[in-house]
Symmetry: C2
Subunit: 264 residues, 2 copies
Amino acid sequence: MRRIAIINQKGGVGKTTTAVNVGAGLARRGRRVLWIDLDPQAHLTFHLGIDPRSCSANLHTLLTRHQTLKEVRQSLGERTAVVPSHIDLATAEGELVSVIGRETILRNAILNETEYDYVILDCPPSLGILTLNGLSAANEVVIPMQPHFLALQGVSTLLDTIRLVHDRINPELRVTGVLLCMHEPNTRLACEVIDDLRAFFVPGRHAETPWAQARIFETIIRRNIKLAECPSHGMSIFDYAPGSHGAVDYQKLADEIDETGFAS
Amino acid sequence: MRRIAIINQKGGVGKTTTAVNVGAGLARRGRRVLWIDLDPQAHLTFHLGIDPRSCSANLHTLLTRHQTLKEVRQSLGERTAVVPSHIDLATAEGELVSVIGRETILRNAILNETEYDYVILDCPPSLGILTLNGLSAANEVVIPMQPHFLALQGVSTLLDTIRLVHDRINPELRVTGVLLCMHEPNTRLACEVIDDLRAFFVPGRHAETPWAQARIFETIIRRNIKLAECPSHGMSIFDYAPGSHGAVDYQKLADEIDETGFAS
Ligand SMILES: Nc1ncnc2c1ncn2[C@@H]1O[C@H](COP(=O)(O)OP(=O)(O)OP(=O)(O)O)[C@@H](O)[C@H]1O
Ligand SMILES: Nc1ncnc2c1ncn2[C@@H]1O[C@H](COP(=O)(O)OP(=O)(O)OP(=O)(O)O)[C@@H](O)[C@H]1O
Ligand SMILES: [Mg+2]
Ligand SMILES: [Mg+2]
């Protein structure tokens, strides 16, 4: 089972949009997909057409009342399900501050899961306890990034956190790759930032780190207003605008992830 | 002294870009401006041309070691200064969890400040202890938003938090307005979202709330790649690309804020 954490502490880079549409693209290939919404803002939950306020069983009750995965997940279709978020998660940092093993509660809840081919964990824009639960529960990391200057600044902090989780909690954790999102082709800024990223993520260059095999995905997600429109309809891009660039790009990415296997 | 918190828990909506360029626009009108970078990612600090790793006196030392404002701020020019952020702030949530009056440490540090006309507080994409320090220290709130569907979802949670800070800690706190950022004119999505926002923020409609007088700013900030390029040069848009739409829009906004006074 591939458990992919979609993570970047920088806000608004396309984590949720990627989580929803890669998951939907994988389901279209026949894969069974479970989404887990780790962000108290619950945007993945909304995007999948669920009102988080109506979910009395959710990620918060799993983390703080030890409900099981079966008790909190909601089926969305024959191959897909979601563990919804809830605004109560906003206080998780404080609620869990002195709980033993607080970073591995989610991991323990999903480790024996066999019903899914993919678990996709959408993380909030921070490196706090919710993201740590995501990293501890995952075996792969995908880092969406907007090719802007400030995006480069955050990468080393993010990789430090990944290394700590790998060393202390989760030795299977590896960075599969960096995904360029919201790309505006032909802008000089994007080209410069992408060059810097390529120079950094040369596979094998950082031997012995969890990102030794990380690459920049071949698929680049272009900026496309249709991707911003579909959340209000509670649909993936494939149902909302199947012919759009957004649909073409995210299906290509789902194919790339499914076909190239684990961080190879 | 007008103390403006730039806040939205949604990531990547233009908080930092707004903080830097509105501050610079106000300085160009002769105002004295102090920036405070409340985000551990320190993007405002980078954007102003400072490397946060080189600042041993910073917002973290102010909050946890009770350094004074004079000890931590760095002068940038004859009218401007900044309290830089530092990565150590990422653990502030845990470090301050049992400190008495933990939300008002910053407020106490700046309340007797008389050297500035404006204090601009750039908040991280969350509603945790750092943002709470920002809200407790401010007397005005500006909410940047991208006119996308998910942006509307977060507004009521944000306003709840503002109301709690207003009622329990800071009765002078008021929402001056909502600023539309990264606007792509002529897209249907933006028009629909803006209509929904206008229907909500009718001045006087929510009597007795801190947003009773809030409005949508007349100035709308258009999407403009120059705004994404200037952080890497450590400059405001006025130094980097004075003729660009980004410069025109942010000066217009600085003028609007300076001329229309406090939430009127
Ligand atoms: N390729 C794209 N083209 C146009 N708009 C996009 C694209 N990807 C995402 N968006 C829109 O940009 C906004 C931010 O995207 P998204 O919410 O996926 O980012 P995020 O990293 O999950 O944000 P957060 O840090 O708040 O969790 C959303 O309104 C989304 O609909
Ligand atoms: N009007 C604009 N046009 C084009 N790019 C923009 C615009 N405003 C901001 N950007 C770019 O978009 C990205 C996000 O903006 P910014 O960092 O200001 O948002 P933020 O709300 O402070 O994010 P965070 O939630 O991470 O603090 C940055 O790379 C920035 O340079
Ligand atoms: Mg998200
Ligand atoms: Mg910011």
